[in-house]
Amino acid sequence: MPITHPQDHHPLPLQSQLQTDLALDIKNLSFAYPDGRDALKHVTIAIKPGERVALVGPNGAGKSTLLLHLNGILQGEGQIRVGGLTVEKKNLPVIRAMVGLVFQNPDDQLFSPTVFEDVAFGPLHMGLDEDEVRTRVEEALTMVGMTSYAARLSYHLSMGEKKRIAIATVLSMHPQILALDEPSAGLDPRARRQLINLLQTLPQTQIIATHDMMLVREMCSRMIVMDEGRIIADDATSALFERVELLEAHGLERPDC
């Protein structure tokens, strides 16, 4: 049976033609949760295409909240532009295809019964046709090395497998930016290593919110320190790792070894 889309369903452009010199441009973003908690305060960040940026800071700093703004799930005050496109209601469908958001807990990300359905979810909801969806699922699962898992049930997978499939679920949408929330949390050393290798092969601009400072040192040339909703520092990772007192003031540690 063909996929039937309602009348108001417009297919998204496959690849955004918009090109600017910034992959992501956040200006003066502030956000308060409905309960009044100020989670983001005047955040300004500019990221160039292809950059891999670490977002670090103690628990409750606002990292996850910031990532949820990148594709308009939360909308605060200020301006966000993704690939030159302003994050606002009318652009949301396109922006959601451009920003692949990988949630911290893969059980939240993998909500379909089978792996195939989860990876197909994004492309299907972008309005792609059946053949294209199947091609993309195959391709995304190949990229994360999980092709043989298509028919598996999401629940019966290991944490490492779930994380890789969670990444595949956004890769199938061909995003230009990957926003990963604590990708290495809960992984054993081998699964963590595989994940790092995988992320290093991906060409997308990457923003990685993490507590894993070893991962930051290995993968990200740039690091943004957040605390209490503010940007505290934004500089080259190597430079920031020299400022031990700054790191310690914000509950971070320099990896030694």
Binding site: M1, I3, H5, P6, H9, L12, L68, N71, I73, P93, R96, A97, V99, L101, F103, N105, D107, D108, Q109, F111, S112, P113, T114, E117, A120, F121, G122, L124, H125, M126, E130, V133, R134, L153, S154, Y155, H156, T169, V170, M173
Partner: protein, 269 residues
Amino acid sequence: MPVQPFDRYQEGAGFLHRLDPRVKVVLTALGILSNVLIPDGAWSAFLLTFALILYLTHLAKLPWGFVLKRSLIILPFTLTAFSVIFITPGTTLTVFRLGPWSFSATHAGVIRFLSILARGLLSVQMAILLTATTSFADLLHAFRHLRLPRALVGTLAFTYRYLDVLGDEAVRLMRARQARSARLPGVSVRQGVRWRGKVTGAMVGQLFLRSLERGERVYYAMLARGYRGHIYTLNPHAMTADDWVFAWVGGLSLLAIQLLARLDLLLTP
């Protein structure tokens, strides 16, 4: 400790396993309807239905006793219909006395009760056959592509996906409680029903809150991947010649059973 309440699927390579799940779902629904429509006491029709189920069990390469054994779980439920034995008007068979009360079992009542029993058992057996030969994911596909109400299928799908996760969460909460229910040696602690009730209530509340939060995060994850109020899935199944043949044969068999049931009643005085 994962709880797996749904998975009744028996991995297998029988003919029934390969059938399009839509055919199986529709035929099961029709089958249950047919059971309901068989009049009281049309034993030949009940028997024929049972023979059909046994034949399908064989086609599914399941053990002979499989559906029979599993269907016995509904016996306690059919007991709720026990009273029809006494309230259906008809010729009295025996009278039971219970203190000041007396109950008279009627002939028609017994027939009605046994018919209800047969309908229940046969219907459950059909459902068991369906779930044993169709994976839950396939069932959901069938429901979706048969245009069952979206909210219903969605709820089923999420329940299937998250029941285990929730079960794990409950187990973790329980462990945490046990870990803190320390007791000094020699000191007896009175933990009354009230106290236990309070703790359990708090735990259920916790579980509920966590589910709410999870629901919100899952919703975010769906939005992030382009969800705009409709869930689309690819239909992995296509009707083959086998499927069509089976659908027709199945439908006609049910029709035959209905005819037989009517004929049976006409011929018996």
